[in-house]
């Protein structure tokens, strides 16, 4: 099972380093015969791959920042503040977990076009921030694990709500915030259908949708080697991030999900 799940990825790596004329003749080698960086050169010169990398980074970074900036205070309020309509508002947010991602795509597409966000990164980033159901839920659980007395004491010291959040609550849940950050980055790096619709000009694309232009560019046989180079570039950052942060994310998940 483990081999099955990794094999296609190894195949990407192998092909990325195989000279293009060999790709089409010898389909059968895990280690390329005469490894080459030619495919990188071809990929970077024929397509604005550097711009794609930058766009992917900007989108993933800003979506993550936006989600955290919104979900952290909301999670805190739902966990430790009393206010009218709290439970209703909480469910309004969490119920969005059951929305298929592309369900509102038509009105959203029209709206984005009307305010001139078509073919802009903002058009991808801003609507993507809205999928925060899980994040708010998760942050509420994290803040709930902090004792209420902590904040009562702060209130006696006349610490305002913002001060309570920034100076007491957040420093105590940093691992939870960091794991959400990782999850969000992984997700946003891979946003596919929505960016495919919104981003049009070649230099505005991201790595994930840039890949698609390889698939459709040639009617006959696609450029497998350079294509795999872009595939490799699209998976390297998330793989590294995941391997580095794995322990962290697992620890944050353990015992929290499904409570």
């Amino acid at each position: 099972m483990a081999i099955l799940s990794v094999f296609p990825l190894l195949w990407i790596v192998t092909t990325a380093f195989t000279p293009n004329d060999l790709v089409l003749t010898k389909a059968f080698r895990l280690l390329p015969e005469s490894p080459t960086f030619d495919n990188f050169r071809i990929a970077f010169t024929r397509f604005p791959v550097a711009a794609w990398i930058w766009n992917s980074l900007v989108i993933a970074g800003l979506v993550t920042a936006g989600k955290l900036a919104i979900a952290v205070p909301a999670g805190f309020a739902f966990a430790h503040m009393r206010f009218a309509g709290r439970d209703t508002l909480f469910w309004v947010i969490v119920a969005t977990l059951t929305f298929p991602t592309i369900i509102g795509i038509v009105p959203l597409y029209v709206g984005i076009s009307m305010i001139g966000w078509y073919d802009t990164l903002a058009g991808v980033i801003v609507p993507s921030i809205a999928y925060i159901g899980f994040y708010v839920f998760f942050m509420r659980q994290a803040f709930r694990s902090l004792p209420a007395e902590m904040f009562e004491a702060a209130r006696l010291d006349k610490a305002g709500p913002l001060k309570q959040l920034l100076e007491i609550a957040i420093p105590n849940v940093l691992p939870a915030i960091a794991s959400l950050g990782v999850i969000s980055f992984l997700g946003a790096w891979n946003i596919y259908l929505w960016s495919l619709l919104v981003l049009d000009s070649p230099e505005k694309r991201t790595l994930t949708i840039g890949l698609k232009s390889f698939i459709v560019i040639d009617d006959f046989e696609p450029l497998w080697g350079p294509m795999m180079v872009v595939g490799l570039l699209s998976m390297l950052p998330v793989m590294l991030l995941f391997l580095l942060a794995q322990r962290f994310v697992m620890a944050a998940f353990t015992g929290r999900v499904g409570e």
Partner: protein, 297 residues
């Protein structure tokens, strides 16, 4: 002082306000607009928008492509939902029994890796393996002297290729969630059961499974949603719904109607149908699992 109290009263709303605003504007409002658009004949380019009542719904239900997509959706759900819950559960239980921590970590990462890839990355990996001319699978088959296949280009195989790639790309998340739940079960409980001569199978079904039922429920609900959702990305890169619509599903149908053919009315009608379906399925799941889920404390 009074300003301070007013501030304290207002603060929670300032904290949750942005979150509420975002979900209302970008998630709820589009759904409401979809309902409205589904009753019109608007197609983005035309300046006029006429009220046509339920005409779009009638057209969709009469469209053989929609029927194919609906049947496929059912097929995808029937195969993928159980597979994406049972296989990860079995894998999680197996990984838990791997003694060597290094190996356990390796299995976990290896099995989870496909989950963090983009659809297009997963798509090109499999397009390349499936490639009829030079792909690995056909090269392997012919080397073994067996007939080659057209894989995702074969109308009767396409749907299974999509099913398999979707499974490959998504089982990892459920595996991690279930594993996290299994790990958090107190060891003492399992040891006590072992002393009482309960074998591994019995321990699994009488102790571990009931104790992780909240996570199991969570996984069941989210998997249903994900199966509907995730396939769209795989379909788009692998088959584009083809050949001849043989691997499409209703979300992809909606996507195509709306953004390839600009039939906004029909696309919106399709999305309304999907929303209703999702609501029904989710409610049914809550009903079904509600009283079976075991919550501790």
């Amino acid at each position: 002082m009074s300003a301070r109290i007013r501030m304290a009263k207002l603060a929670p709303y300032l904290f949750v306000g942005p979150a509420i605003a975002f979900v209302l504007v970008f998630l709820y409002a589009p759904v409401v607009f979809s309902v409205g658009l589904s009753l019109t004949d608007w197609n983005f380019i035309s300046p006029t928008m006429n009220f046509v009542g339920l005409e779009n719904y009638r057209r969709i239900f009469a469209d053989p492509n929609f029927r194919d997509a609906a049947v496929n959706t059912l097929l995808y759900c029937v195969v993928l939902i159980p597979a994406q819950i049972m296989v990860p559960l079995a894998l999680a239980a197996l990984i838990l029994r791997v003694r060597n921590p290094f190996l356990a970590g390796f299995y976990k990462s290896a099995l989870f890796l496909p989950t963090i890839l983009a659809y297009s990355t997963a798509g090109i990996a499999w397009l390349w393996l499936f490639d009829p001319l030079n792909g690995f699978f056909n090269a392997a088959l012919s080397a073994l002297g067996m007939p080659t296949s057209r894989w995702h280009n074969d109308p009767s195989l396409a749907i299974w290729c999509v099913t398999f790639v979707t499974f490959w790309k998504n089982f990892g998340l459920n595996m991690l969630l279930l594993l996290a739940a299994l790990v958090s079960i107190p060891k003492s409980l399992l040891e006590a059961a072992a002393i009482d001569n309960a074998g591994p199978w019995r321990r699994f079904f009488t102790i571990e499974l009931p104790l992780i039922s909240p996570t199991f429920f969570f996984v069941a609900v989210t998997t249903t949603m994900n199966v509907l959702d995730d396939i769209v990305g795989v379909i788009d890169v692998l088959t584009g719904g083809g050949p001849y619509g043989q691997s499409s599903n209703i979300l992809y149908y909606m996507y195509e109607r709306g953004l390839s053919f600009f039939q906004f009315g029909q696309a919106s009608a399709a999305s309304v149908i999907i929303i209703v379906l999702v609501l029904v399925v989710t409610l049914a799941q809550f009903r079904m699992f509600e009283h079976r889920v075991h919550y501790e404390s």
